[in-house]
Each structure stands twice: as C-alpha cells, then as structure tokens.
C-alpha cells in the first residue's frame, strides 16, 4: 500500500497497462517530453519510448480518428484530449465514428480506444476549459463513460477501460489531481459499471461522481451531526450504469439526492431520477432532488465559479432543507 496522488495514479495506471500489452500506444498533445499539460503522463516517454508515447499536433480530429483507425486494425490506443471541452472539436469522430461503427457494421469491428480527458471546473480556467461534459458523452450510444474519484479507482478503472473492447471516455477531474489516497500494491483491475457505496447510511441516498464524491462525503459528515444518516454512492461509471446499487440503496433509505457537476439540463442525475421514478417509485418517501451546476457556461471568477458548482455547503443545505 502506497499513498499516491490522483495525478500520479494516472501515469501509474497507464504504465501498468502498457507493460501488460506491448501493442498499446498513447496519442495526444504534449504528452511525451512535456509529461502532459497537467503532468498526468510524466515518465511514460522514458519508460515506453517515443513510438508508443506519441506527441501529436494540435489536431483533435486526427488524434481520435487515428486512434480509431489504429484500434480497428490491431493497435489499441489511449488517446488524450487535453481538456474535455475540446471534445466538441472532434465530436464527429467520437459520436458518429467510434461510437457507431461497431453497430453500423453489424459487429464486424471493435474499437478498443480509451479517450482520456481532463474534465471539470474549480481551476478558474473559464468556460472553454472547465465544463463537466459527462452528459455530452453519456448520451451517445456505443460509448462507455468512466469518472474515477480516487487514486485507487484511477488505476483500477484505467485497467478496465483499456481492456474493454469498446471505446471508453475516461474523465480525469482537474480539481482532484492533487488529492491523495492509498493505492494497493500489485495489479488493480476493476470492472466497468460497478458503483461503490463509500459511506453507509439509512435516511437518504446521495449519488455523486468524481469531484462531487468527496464533497458529498463531507456534506454527509455534517448531516450526521444533524442526526441525518446519509448513504453516499460513488457512481464511478455512467455507462454501463450500476442501477442495482442505486435501487438497493433507495429501497433502504427512501430518499434520493444526486450531486452533479454537469450543467443541469440532461445531466446524468436526470436519467437516474427517471430510472428510480420508474423502477422504485413505491420505495420513495419524497421527491428526488438534483443538486447541480446551473444551466450556464462556467464563469472564471472564484466567487462565481464556486457559486455555480455544488459546494459542500450547498449540498448540505439543500439536503437538510428537504429532509427536515
């Protein structure tokens, strides 16, 4: 067991897979000598060489398209899109090509690509470098979508994503990069589509993802002081979605809150609210409440950005208000 930062866990998890599969290649901007704009790929060039850790020009369509063409013909790829907002620049490759090709060809090909990208706000970067785009990705049939919240899960989910035959969007949260956690020794391989109950409780269920997980946990601490026992679920994977863990928890608590960083409209919590409304309606003791970023582009100013993204304080207040 070693303590590791979320940032270092990314390169560590990639290295685990690149050692295992000598075909595996990385493509992206500034990932080699520079070690990544967020230093998430430091040391990989030295370990695996410039053929397998490849800097590309600033060409997001070519990065994803090349990853796809390579993956279809025997070379699995981890492709990096530097900021998740830039997915919009290569959306055709993600939404029309990678995601649809297996289906459109009647299953003739698989596209084993991991699209790593730095997601989310809190860094005061302004609207084009801060958005949480998990809902952009979740809505595309043919993609899988993963967002770890801890260094350990970065490693385990990276392995699962790389070993999966389908294209997987791997969302690394910018505001979690400096956080630290225990990473067990040895190979860690998780399964996609398995959520974790990270705090047990009996009065309400809080479902969260990525940066919202530690915030939900802190809010749950404060709720406990008020006599409210909150269960917190770290979703970890949006596609596949572990509905069973959510439904079981709601059956126990009778109340559901989602904490989402994505802009409100069509956020992943809406999908979960719909599933729970349909499949667990009679388990609910009150309305499902979604705590989200408003439907706005993210502002740069600290005072505004901190107001926009759900904070521990806001999560706590919104839950306490409804639970009273």
């Amino acid at each position: 067991m070693a303590e590791m930062s979320y940032r270092d866990a990314i390169a560590y998890g990639i290295a685990q897979e690149m050692r295992r599969d000598p075909r595996l290649v990385m493509l992206g901007e500034d990932i080699a000598a520079a070690g990544g704009v967020f230093k998430t790929t430091v040391g990989l060039l030295e370990q695996f060489g410039p053929d397998r850790v490849r800097d590309t020009p600033i060409s997001e369509q070519a990065i994803l398209g090349a990853a796809m063409g390579a993956a279809m013909t025997g070379i699995p790829v981890i492709a990096e899109i530097m900021f998740s907002d830039f997915i919009a620049v290569c959306f055709d490759i993600l939404a029309n090509q990678m995601a649809k090709t297996r289906y459109m060809t009647g299953g003739q090909v698989t596209v084993p690509v991991v699209i790593r990208t730095h997601n989310g706000g809190g860094a005061r970067f302004g609207a084009q470098h801060s958005q949480s785009v998990e809902n952009w990705c979740m809505m595309i049939p043919g993609l899988k979508v993963v967002a770890p919240s801890t260094p350990r899960d970065v490693v385990g989910l990276m392995a699962a994503a790389v070993r999966d035959p389908d294209p997987v969007v791997f969302l690394e949260h910018k505001s979690l990069l400096a956080t630290k956690g225990e990473v067990p020794e040895g190979e860690i391989v998780d399964e996609l589509g398995v959520a974790k109950v990270v705090r047990e409780g009996t009065d309400c269920t809080i479902v969260a993802l990525a940066l919202m997980v530690p915030r939900a946990l802190q809010a749950a601490e404060r709720l406990a002081a008020e006599g409210i026992s909150a269960e917190v679920i770290d979703l970890r994977s949006l596609v596949p979605l572990d509905t069973q863990t959510i439904l079981s928890s709601v059956a126990k608590t009778g109340r559901l809150f989602t904490v989402e960083e994505n802009p409100r409209l069509c956020g992943w919590g809406a999908e979960i609210a719909s599933i729970v409304g349909h499949e667990a309606f009679w388990d609910l003791d009150g309305p499902v409440v979604r705590i989200t970023t408003p439907h706005i582009p993210l502002p740069a100013a600290e005072t505004l950005e901190d107001m926009a993204i759900p904070s521990v304080d806001r999560i706590y207040k919104e839950i306490v208000e409804v639970m009273d």
Partner: protein, 324 residues
Amino acid sequence: MPKRDPTTPDGARRSLLVMWTIRRFEEALEELFARGVLHGTMHLSIGQEAVAEGVAAALDEGDFITSTHRGHGHAIAHGADLERMFAELLMKDTGYCRGRGGSMHIADVAAGNLGANGIVAGSMTIATGAAFSQMMQGTGKVVACFFGDGAANEGAFHESLNLAGIWSLPVVFVCENNQYGMSMAVDKATAGGSIVRRADAYGIPGVRVDGNDVVDVFRNTSEAVARARRGEGPILIEAVTYRYRGHSKSDRNLYRTVDEIEQWRKSRDPLDRYEARVIDEGWLTSDQLEECRIEARDAVRRAVEAAFRAPDADPADLVGAAYA
C-alpha cells in the same frame, strides 16, 4: 504486387469485369429503388468506375481501403461479395452489416474494406490511423483512402494529410473529383483552384490523373502504393471524373445541364474508353468483351435473386451489436 494489372490480357478481363459489375450493380439498385423495393437513400457512382477499379487493382490482397457515402464501387473492386451487398441494401440479415448499415455503411473488414462513411471526410482520419497501425506493426500494408472533392474542404482533410505527412504514413489519399459537392461546382468551392496542389502544403507528392481512364489511375496508384510500401510516406491523387446521376436520390440536377452530362457520357465514359483501349492493344477480343459484359450482368442478377430470398434483418437482436 497489384491484385490485377489492367494492361495485361488476364488483368484486362478481370478489370473490365469489375467495372461492368459496378455499373450493372448500381443500375440494378436504381431499378429496385424505382420499383419501391429498396428504401432509404443511396449515392451512385455510375461514370466513376475507373477510379474504384484503377485504385483497387493497384492494391495487394490484405491492403486496406476506406470509402465514402458513394462507396459501392470501392467495395466491389476491393473484393466484396455481391450477394451480401445486395442483402445489405435490401435490409437483410445476411447483408454485410446485417441491415444495421445500409448503403452508406457497407464494410467488408475481412477483405480490408474498413467501411463506407456517411460523413464527408469522415473516413480520412480513420484511414490515417489504419496506416499508423501498419507502420507500428511493420506489416508492409498500405491504406487507400477514397474521398470526394467536397471532402477536400473539410477540416479532417487537413488534419489527416498533415498527420500522415509528419509521420510519413503508408496511406494513399485518393480524391475522386466528380466535379460537384452535391450541387456546388468544384471550381466555386476550391480556393486556389486546385485540390491536388494542396499536397505541396504538406510536403507530399500530388498527382492529377484522368479518373475516367482506368489505366492512368492504375499506373499512378501503383507507383503511389509502391512508394508508400517502401515507407516513403503518403501521396495525394486527384482523379478527375464525373458523376452521371444526381448526388443522391433526391437530386434533380438543377445545377447543371443535360448537355454537360451527355458530353461526359458520350465522349469520356470510362467503360467505352477502356473497351476501345483493350481492343486496340489486343488485350482482349470483342468476343471476350461481350463475355465480360454478360458475366457481370448474370452475376448481378444471381446476387439480387439470392438476396431477395434471404431473411429480413432480425429485430430480435436489435440492440446486440452496439457494444462488444
């Protein structure tokens, strides 16, 4: 080694057979569409057969192609089975994509056809990636990337040629300039007045060929393929040709004159010209020409009949191919 050489007696017979097969195949599609038994839309390449065959003949078994929305000819020339193609167009379970693709998405991955593409320039980055994969694996295989004059104004064109250029990838970019991007004439759409000259910007060779002369297409593509196979990098071929039919089934040809179409058809038809050449050079006799025509006609007939008898696409497995 090229699959067949249209400048030898044996090659001429096979190339002529392919070109007649493409034409008869697409004429059959027109008829089926008119009779109301074929649905959706389709894009016919009648008049452009020499490009498909000239390029495909120059490739070796195991080389790859990527194709376009106007891709029936490419698939046939690269070895596709006619019955499975008709079955796909007739939405049958025995089609290449089991009815999930249709006209615009026929892929024959086992033969190296990585797929037609419904997005203009959509396959260009994928072809680049497939070429990268060949380089990484040292297969010595080459990728031929078909695209149209309209695609030359898409961003993916630039990103693909740039990446292929800096990495010296074994890809032959084949622009089928059929004079119109849907209704827009190529000279109105192309700044600088030339697609092939754009090769200079990427430091790669560019060659303009007579796309209605299968021998010219074949000779130039053979050189390009040999060069790419030697690891000397990509090349841009602009094959000047003409589409006789409208862009798709909804096109009424309001942007050009009947005279213009007739002029191309009467004086520059790729089948008329190749047949005249074949006789002049003594590669085939007129009896052998007739045999080719009959063989193509009969093969198309047999394939349509067999495809009609096949079971429809199976709704019981509606979602099956979306994920591996």
